[in-house]
Each structure stands twice: as C-alpha cells, then as structure tokens.
C-alpha cells in the first residue's frame, strides 16, 4: 500500500466526517465547523497531489490563494450566522423552512 493511497484514504475519511457534520448538525456554527473540515481535507488533497507529482511550489501558490478565499468565505458565513441570529433569535438551520412549495 503506497503512502499516497493511504494519505488520500485518510483525506476521504476526513471529508466524510465533515460532510456528516454538515448533514446532521442543526447549529449553523457546527455547519461551519463541518465546512472547515471539508475544506481542510480538500487542501490536503491539493498539497498531496502537488507533492507526489513534484509540483509542490505550484501547489503552495494555489494554497495561499485558497486560504485567503477560505477566510473570506468563513467570515461571510459567520456574518450570515449573526444576521440570522439577530433576525430569528436562533442559530438553528433546520428551523429555516419558510420557503417551500
């Protein structure tokens, strides 16, 4: 079993954990935690691919951009969380079901 395959296996596991979290948790904060875990897994996949294909510098360059994006995305998510909390008084995403039909 090559090291690469093992790493990606664990990355898949990490991704599973993150998506599981997004699937089952009601709290928007925990949704964001799940989201963070998934994106960590994606970053690991990227850097691992860079490492094993001898493109590490390139991968790092991409990763830095990704981290900037992640920060802004998480900040936007938290901003939405706070706005939702202000309007609805809760941070429960399962309660948001007024739009239907």
């Amino acid at each position: 079993m090559s090291s690469f395959a093992m790493e990606w296996y664990l990355i898949a596991l990490l991704m599973f954990i993150g998506f599981y979290c997004m699937l089952v948790s009601r709290s928007i904060v925990r949704q964001l935690v799940g989201l963070e875990i998934v994106s960590k897994a994606a970053m690991l996949a990227l850097i691992s691919a860079g490492y094993w294909s001898n493109n590490l510098v390139f991968a790092q360059a991409l990763l830095i951009t990704m981290i900037v994006i992640e920060v802004v995305v998480v900040a936007a998510g938290l901003a939405l969380l706070v706005k939702n909390f202000r309007l609805h008084g809760s941070a429960d995403i399962w309660k948001l079901d007024s739009l239907k039909g």
Binding site: M1, S2, S3, F4, A5, M6, E7, W8, L10, A12, L13, L14, F16, I17, Y20, V24, S25, S27, V29, V33, G34, E36, I37, K40, M43, L44, I47, S48, Y51, W52, S53, N54, N55, L56, V57, F58, A59, Q60, A61, L62, L63, I64, T65, I67, V68, E70, V71, V72, V74, A75, A76, L78, A79, L81, V82, F85, G89, S90, A91, D92
Partner: protein, 162 residues
C-alpha cells in the same frame, strides 16, 4: 504506519471527530484550531513551509478568533436549546463503517490513480510562482478581499438614523 505524516493525518481525523462531537461550541472551535495546526504540520512535513505558515497564522489563528467571537455572541441562546446528541454519538460508528468499507475500495483506487501521475518539473520559488504564473489569482485575491469587506459592510451596516 511508521510514516510520521500518516500519524499526523490520523491525528487530524481524530481532532475533527472531536470537533464535531464536542458538546460545547467553544470546544468545537478550539478543536478546529487544533485540526488546523495538525494540517499545517502536515504542510511542513511535505516541505511546503509557506502554506504551513499561512495555515497556522490564518486558519488556526484568524478563523479561530472569528469562530470564538461568533460563538460567544450566540452561546447563551444556544445553551438554552441544546441539540440532540444522538446523531453525533453515531459519528464514530459511521466513520468506522466508512473507514472499513472504504478500506477495500479506496486505497486500490488511489493507488491506481497514483500510477497515472505525470511528475512535473518542480523548481522555482514560491514568490516567482505566485507572481509569474498565478498573477490572475492575485487579482482574484484582491477582488475576494474587497468582496469580504463589502460583505461585512453590507451585513453590518453603520446605522445612522436608528
């Protein structure tokens, strides 16, 4: 399993399970910071120090601060209505099922994929790579940061009248 990197990977998985299962949101946020730390260690181990430094400072630092801020804002309300824990206790079980089921399929799949790898030339420095090859991404970053500022301004406007 003697590869230290794999230990770090396993540690990351462990911390993330913990982050998901933690009863308190604050613990979740701290565990998430630990996940980031282990991920940055993995980066260092790969020989990607720039990514590691960024990860450590931005993800483990800035994002954790943001998280803790948001959590402390809503914590009082959250603790009044704790969510049902049963689904979270099922996580280790689900992860184990995934891990065992995946063990038979995923590593061979990834191993075959590794066989298709086309090694690049490597070389160059991070600065050159960013500036010469990824110049548009820098533009994208600027745009992203601008967007972030405007998002915050839009969601939390300065109220002049009320």
């Amino acid at each position: 399993m003697n590869d230290p990197r794999l230990v770090l990977f396993a540690l990351t998985a462990l911390f993330s399970i913990w982050a998901v299962m933690a009863r308190s949101l604050l613990t979740s946020a701290i565990m998430l910071a630990l996940v980031s730390v282990t991920v940055s260690l993995i980066f260092f181990d790969y020989g990607a120090p720039w990514a590691g430094v960024f990860e450590l400072s931005v993800c483990a630092g800035l994002i954790t601060v943001l998280f803790i801020g948001a959590v402390s804002l809503i914590r009082s309300e959250e603790e009044k209505h704790p969510e049902s824990r049963a689904r979270f206790y099922a996580l280790p079980l689900a992860a184990a099922i995934f891990a065992i089921a995946g063990w038979f399929y995923l590593p061979p799949f990834f191993a075959e994929m590794a066989g298709w790898a086309r090694p690049g030339t490597g070389g160059g420095t991070i600065g050159l790579a960013l500036w010469d090859m990824r110049r548009q991404d820098l533009l994208g970053q600027v745009l992203m940061l601008a967007a972030g500022v405007f998002v915050i301004k839009s969601v939390f406007p300065r109220r002049t009248e009320k």
